[in-house]
């Protein structure tokens, strides 16, 4: 048990940065910056500055340095995405339609952010392959988690577990790829097509 002064709300809903503890501010800053600039494109000093923290504080909470911080940032992005995905899938009786609407929601978020707020982990994850084992492994776990959520929703809708697991792979892959293409092309179209075709694919398996 740590005696942390945390009477304030610290859910990710819409807590003002100023009300968060130092550690959380650092993780959030790292998450946002690495999402947009990747691991190598984001500096430790930039993270500290954006988080209104000092280098001393940063290395106090993350003695493992940049790599440990990146792993925490991936975990944070994971939770963020899980929350959004659950909000779309939880009470939906038609998962095909729910997934399509989720994809269109991603397109909205992208367009509003001028195409920079894509998947919270893919940029960092892709740059970590074969080079940053802890980061890569955190990202792999996140992807597996997301597939699990999708598969669960498909099973609930009557699809057999084995088939649902297979479909979940393609659902997540297609969402990832479409978001990447949408960002690079600065266009909603890839995500709109993903929404349409994923719905068709899921419907074809019922």
């Amino acid at each position: 048990m740590k005696e942390s002064p945390r009477s304030n709300a610290e859910q990710s809903g819409s807590t003002p940065e100023s009300a968060l503890g130092t550690r959380d501010r650092i993780v959030r800053a790292a998450s946002v910056l690495m999402q947009r600039q990747g691991y190598d494109g984001t500096g430790i000093k930039q993270i500290a500055q954006e988080a209104d923290a000092t280098l001393g504080s940063l290395y106090h909470f993350f003695p493992g340095g940049k790599q440990e911080l990146a792993t925490a940032a991936i975990d944070h992005g994971n939770r963020e995405f899980v929350e959004a995905l659950n909000a779309s899938l939880d009470g939906a009786e038609d998962p095909a339609r729910a997934l399509a609407e989720f994809a269109l929601g991603l397109a909205d978020r992208l367009a509003e952010s001028d195409w920079v707020d894509g998947c919270p982990i893919s940029t960092t994850a892709l740059g970590s392959v074969g080079r940053l084992p802890d980061v890569q492994s955190a990202a792999a776990q996140a992807f597996a988690h997301w597939r699990g959520l999708v598969s669960g929703a498909l099973v609930k809708a009557g699809i057999a577990r084995a088939e649902a697991d297979e479909l979940a792979h393609t659902v997540i892959s297609t969402l990832e790829g479409a978001e990447l293409a949408a960002q690079v092309s600065a266009s909603r179209v890839p995500l709109e097509m993903a929404a349409k075709h994923l719905a068709q694919l899921v419907d074809a398996h019922r």
Copy 2:
């Protein structure tokens, strides 16, 4: 007309690096390194070293520096992917099967390279969004080009142009996302599922 000493073959087939001109060696080294490490993770000096060239030569051919070189590397990766895609689609009468085999070929290449040889441009492209306009635009053009090739193959197989264009978006997105997931997870499964479901999706539209 430039008077270049180029009696040697310079197709991308299997030319030994030593037989290439300095400029080509630099572009190839940049392409490979940025594919694996991204734009920010790859140093100009590392590129020069890997290409057996000096910094002076590098800046002679690319006075625009790293950004101009990255753009050339994207163009190179684009041509590489186009060649592979054409080889799979060109004489195929069944595009669904051809795309599935292409996806499995990507999985082979990935596994053989210990999951580092993924899409030649996606890492650099994703890291360029909103930060390196020339690089991003070259990547966007490449994606559009690939979609055009897929759409063409689908039209040849009897699918209406409008529908083929839509499907091509999802085909490329899914391949991109599945390759990303396969790399991060160090597993063939995402690409195997993409192969299966893309074939189903295309077949459902004939």
